[in-house]
Amino acid sequence: MSSAEPGAGDDPARRPSLPAEEVTDPTLRAEVDNPADANVPTGAEAAPGGGTSAADAPPLPAAGAPAELSSEQTPPQGQQRGAAGPDQGLADVAGGDAGSPESSGHTGTDPPVPAAPANPPPVQGGATVPEQPPATPRAVAAEGALARQAKAEQADQAAEAAAGAGLGEEPDPGLDQPRRDLVERLGTALDGGVLDVHIVPGVDVWVRVGIDHWHRAFEVCRHHLGLTYFDFLSAIDWLPSPFGRSEDTGTDEDAGADDRAAGPGGPGELEHGVTGGSTRFQLLARLVSPTSHLGLTLKADVDDVELRAPTVSDLYPGADWHERETWEMYGIDFVGHPNLVHLYLPGAFEGHPLRKDFPLLAREVKPWPGLVDVEAMPGEAEAASS
């Protein structure tokens, strides 16, 4: 938004035209000389919402920081994002930024869910029903599609405001209400799409959704839950390594860690981590709110036969590369991805290296010389393994 406004992109304007406002040096000089005053933001360099110190301020609430990137403080740009056609890029990402007048104006003019047309059909099944936070009347569902979208926007903002207010309070470490709320709202919006939830109070939260709800889950997180920061996306292959000890640490017998191979299932049985699972491959992604700093780890099982999932790169452009990596490392196809080509591996590479049944050749040829490190000292094996 701010970047699109300074339209004067001709050549002279590329030079910084703010000789009078160059307070940078005096400010800094003052701060260097006088560190006690360093926390007072001054002049052109003082960021809105910036300048809180760790000791004297709790984590900021929403603060509307994004919208206050004012164009007065942005020098004229030679770069001209507007000319370069970034409007699309802006529209794609501006939607979920509620809580500030400028950005809500933005969302108003944009299609509320810009991603929708790009979605693969299966995901769209339940996607037209807008999220219903507790405060919103149920009657919305009866209205036409346009009105519904508008209402969803309002509900969205209301919910955002509510969340912002709620997050200002001190969280109860025993209950972890903020994370509970997050999960509850996601569950309401997905309408049965949430398969499992795992909360470690005060630390983290995992949610496993059905693969059909994968895209919708991201949409809800992005547009309604304020989790606008894309952290990562990857996958886990839950198959125990068929190479067993040769690829594992060789001295497990000494340490008494051979229980997996000796267990009732033996190698070959899938053991899933938190939030369980039912298939071999599981998608894993993490989204974070930049204002409340709450993060959410999303998981979804990928069908064993049809290794595919809808792309979320239309919602989070950063997912583009992560999905490319996951595709080449695990062979999971991302339907609707704009450019699903190799990221790291050479084009002719065969196989998917991060799958558990892809041998690590270096280890097949020669055992790991560092194994000696984990051998127990004489007489210490019992004490250590207990």
């Binding site: 590329r14 994004p66 794609d92 990402v93 952290d231 990562f232 004490a383």
Partner: protein, 390 residues
């Protein structure tokens, strides 16, 4: 007016024709400019294929993998202490900072907490890594824009910091100093006083950089308003660290996430800049380096006594579970998603590196910029190739 000789006339006509041809060529089709993979301006072996229209970039596509070492696969065949050595090499300019989130993730699953003195020393070294890393950036940004002097200062003063790291850990670049449950060794005698004097030197260096580079008119001309990244876009791409703080977002995991490290014990400030351009990114990093020296000074003053190692089994086995720990590394948010099945080594480690996300915005941010600005923007985003390719 003198008559043109026949020779001059022919030269004139030839010149006109050549110019017309050039114009025609520029109008009709663009040009593909390949930057890298060995271009000195690319911090390693990043390759960028740009499509140009005249001086403007129409599209830019980074090509990676020239340094892909498969760390995520390698971690699955190593024990936890061995992985510590491995992950030192991810972002090789701030190796110690790579170790910390991994160790913290393992400690969380093992339900071990390192003693306070270890946490404080960890924090000190974390910040020393930051200084060692970012000082190089502060000088190198100058080099990339054609000012060579700054980088010599940077290498000179980074050396002091590396010496301190070496004095305590034995490794200049790859300390391998962090351990599950604590640290390898305690600080050597006289280290605290020595480090304080180094911190003063680094602050002088920051002042020098501010005068030499930060307030240089040419530097400002080439960075102000170049490569502006609005905060919404930055969030969608997962930009972190100074890159997102330079877009005005007040978010620092040192302050805003719950780690056992000692940042909460000292008084410091999170710097942000509203502009989101290349200058802002430089400026924020410069301030953060100075702030880091203040953090180190305070930590050195308040360093608690006590053991540096918690009681841990001699053979490290991490109980089954999953943990995600991320810290505010010099380049941004670095995190490890650790899946353990109770073995000597992890079942799966997802390594989330800051540079990967920071560089994924390159196709977006380079669209429409001029060729010289490509280098400015890449330099200001600041990436380490090992941190992208893993």
């Amino acid at each position: 007016m003198s008559m043109l000789t026949e020779h001059q006339q022919r030269a004139y006509i030839g010149g006109q024709a050549a110019e017309a041809r050039v114009n025609l060529e520029l109008e009709t089709d663009g040009m593909t400019l390949n930057i890298g993979p060995q271009h000195p301006a690319t911090h390693g072996t990043l390759r960028i294929i740009t499509r140009l229209d005249g001086e403007q970039v129409i599209s830019a596509e980074p090509v990676m993998g020239y340094m892909h070492r498969g760390y995520e696969k390698l971690t699955e065949v190593r024990t936890y202490p061995q992985i510590n050595t491995l992950i030192n090499r991810i972002d090789w300019l701030s190796s110690f900072a790579n170790e910390v989130p991994f160790i913290l993730a393992a400690e969380r699953l093992m339900e071990i907490e390192a003693p306070p003195r270890a946490q404080w020393i960890r924090t000190i070294f974390f910040e020393l890594s930051r200084i060692a890393n970012i000082t190089l950036f502060l000088g190198e940004m100058g080099v990339q824009l054609g000012a060579i002097t700054a980088v010599f200062y940077a290498f000179r003063d980074r050396e002091h910091v590396l010496n301190q790291i070496e004095a305590a850990t034995g490794g200049r670049f790859h300390p391998n100093y962090d351990r599950i449950g604590g640290l390898k060794e305690d600080l050597p005698k006289g280290w605290v006083a020595e480090t304080k004097s180094v911190m003063a030197k680094v602050r002088d260096f920051c002042d020098e950089m501010e005068t030499l580079v930060g307030t240089n008119e040419i530097f400002e001309t080439r960075t102000r308003g170049i490569g502006v990244i609005p905060v919404e876009v930055a969030l969608g791409y997962g930009l972190s660290g100074a890159n997102i703080r330079a877009s005005g977002l007040d978010w620092d995991l040192r302050r805003d996430s719950d780690t056992p490290l000692a940042w909460k014990e000292v008084d410091w400030k999170v710097w942000t800049h509203p502009d989101g351009d290349s200058f802002a990114r430089y400026w924020v990093r410069l301030q953060e380096t100075r702030e880091a020296t203040l953090i180190v000074d305070q930590l050195l003053d308040g360093l608690p006594a006590g053991p540096i190692m918690a009681k841990v089994p001699r053979i490290i086995k991490v109980p089954p579970g999953e943990a995600w720990v991320a810290t505010e590394n010099p380049l941004g948010e670095m995190g490890y998603y650790l899946v353990s099945k109770g073995d000597l080594g992890p079942f799966r480690v997802k390594i989330r590196t800051p540079s990967f996300n920071n560089i994924s915005i390159v196709p977006w941010v380079l669209k429409g910029v001029y060729v010289p600005d490509v280098i400015t923007i890449l330099a200001s985003l600041y990436f380490i190739l090992g941190d992208i390719d893993r």
